[in-house]
Amino acid sequence: MSCHVAADRAAAAPPPLLQLRARPLKIVLVGNPNVGKSVIFGRLTGRYATVSNYPGTTVGLTSGRALLGAEVCDVVDSPGVNSLEGVLTEDEHVTRQLLTNHEADLVVQVADARNLRRALSLTAQCAAFNLPMVLVLNMVDEARRHGVEVDARRLSAELDIPVVETVAVEGQGIPELKEALTEARPVTVPFEAARDAAGWAHAAASRFRRVRPASVGRLQEFLNRATREPLPGLPILALVLYAVYLFVGVFGAQTLVGLIEHDVFGRFINPAAVAVFERVVPFALVRDFFVGEYGLITMGLTYAIAIVLPVVATFFLIFGWLEDSGYIPRLAIFSDRIFRLMGLNGKAVLPMILGLGCDTMATMTTRILGTPKERLIAVLLLALGIPCSAQLATILGILGSISFAALLTLFTVVLVQMFFVGFLAARVLPGERSDFILELPPLRLPAWRNVLAKTWVRIRWYLWEAVPLFLIGTALLFVLDGTGLLRVVTAAGRPIVTGLLGLPPEAAQVFVMGFLRRDYGAAGLFQMAHAGQLSGTQAVVALTVMTLFVPCVANLLMIIREQGVKAGLGILVFVTTVAIATGAGLHYGFRLFGVGF
């Protein structure tokens, strides 16, 4: 087979399609970020796509099958890259691997027609891999609106590869692209392009692209500007946050949770499970393990599917939509100054916002930050202060019903604490932060197909990674409870919980649960508050400690994976200390000044 591949790569070889081969032809899509690569991918492959991590990395590769002519091909969508040589990001490294490891038979470079200059720089770098190639100029409609015209025919002649113009979201140019694949050839660039890709790209772009000052779509230009300038920008941000709250906090956490927990689980699944186990299983212990107070189904599955899943799913859906709209990078402009004081830069806002959905996933995403110091600080701040969506929902649920002042107190304390810790960490920890340099993609209306695909990948991740932990956590609680250890742990924690924090003794158990999963513990607090076991001030103290507290087990494992055992345990001890100290400070402060909610 290897000689087969070699034959493919010789310039004089027949076109790579329409010949017998031992495995399907593998087509790799390459391109800068935000050029519509995933849309092209979707158009080529149709509905079925799988997402997997490139071995040893967290970089996701989407692959699917495409029928091209009479041949079935594998199509791989690589992550967006700006460079393939020099200092590379993890994404860029993976894409480079795909092109060098004999994994790709054919490269389709997708370019934003407007940004021909940057695209050609990448084309010149791709030339080094000597693979048959096609260049796609996508979004030619948007380019025209910006006064940008590219002479695709002359460019094709110059590079000696097919150049296809498309508007992928509308399906324009896709049949032409499929046809052009049969004529893919290794790209020809002059000798100097290999030495200075950027310089050659600049000269080539000015030969084949014409830019006229153009009247851009008024609305898009207005929105681009309004969302990055402070005056309309900050009120718009408040509106966006409110919309997210309505969708996740109200529709997800109240309407959907109510429906699934109360109606589906409460009326059907749990009673049915109890009935089945009572009829089939004669041992009380086994029955309790599945459907008792700490039962895998009645507690673990109910929490995971009925209480947390609706919140996580609605968050991922709206987050994915905002991500594809190009809005989120704009928040980095507003937060850059503050993050710089904390040893980070504006880019850190991306993992922080994702953390509001799931801290574990956000901890993994800290890889996009530039330096080890930044990654460590971001991981620490996520563990300390960012409440995940499920936890946020319980905080809003409990404190919202007490008073707005209670809610404000919690968020103020947590934010001040985060800033303080970040500020100190920036000065104490060794290392540097990286410069803030971020591309702001134009605001676009997201393609629902892509948003849904992305959301589904994340929900699936939640189901695979988090639900087992809910079940393990529940099983652990069951064992702790059955062996009497739960009482021992609760008793051991009592001096801290009742003395230092002034909470009812039952709260100790909730904190143990909270260690397994923060939102799990928060759900426990929710029940205590509903049963009238917590006063207003106690609820604020308990929830503040819980928010600052150790992340869930899944997050801890992810921290250890990202930062190593030593740093992971260090973060665990540090965060726990800060949480308890802050809680104690609040408790005594409230008492001293006679604060009540």
């Binding site: 940057r118 310089g199 990055r228 990078p329 507003f334 803030f436 340099i437």
Partner: protein
């Protein structure tokens, strides 16, 4: 310094950071005192010859480079030397 540049060569052009909102120019070069920063800017198309336009200075510096909008911090804007255009 001690390189072959005379002071006037070294200071030719203006720093992007000093340009007002709406000002246009062409990138002359990017200071290489921080190589990683220069590489990242190059990958995003901030290379000699690129046309730039300042869009915003507060709360962050935003400029258009060729057809790409970039947000950067002030120290990065000081490392980009441009020749300004009239009008």
């Amino acid at each position: 310094m001690g390189s072959g540049f005379s002071v006037s060569d070294f200071e030719r052009g203006e720093r992007l950071a000093s340009l007002a909102v709406g000002a246009r120019g062409v990138v002359l070069r990017v200071l290489r005192d921080d190589a990683a920063r220069a590489e990242r800017l190059k990958a995003l198309g901030v290379t000699p010859g690129a046309r730039v336009r300042v869009l915003q200075r507060f709360p962050g510096f935003v400029f258009e480079c060729d057809q790409t909008e970039l947000a950067i911090e002030p120290s990065v804007a000081r490392a980009i030397l441009v020749e300004t255009e009239e009008g």
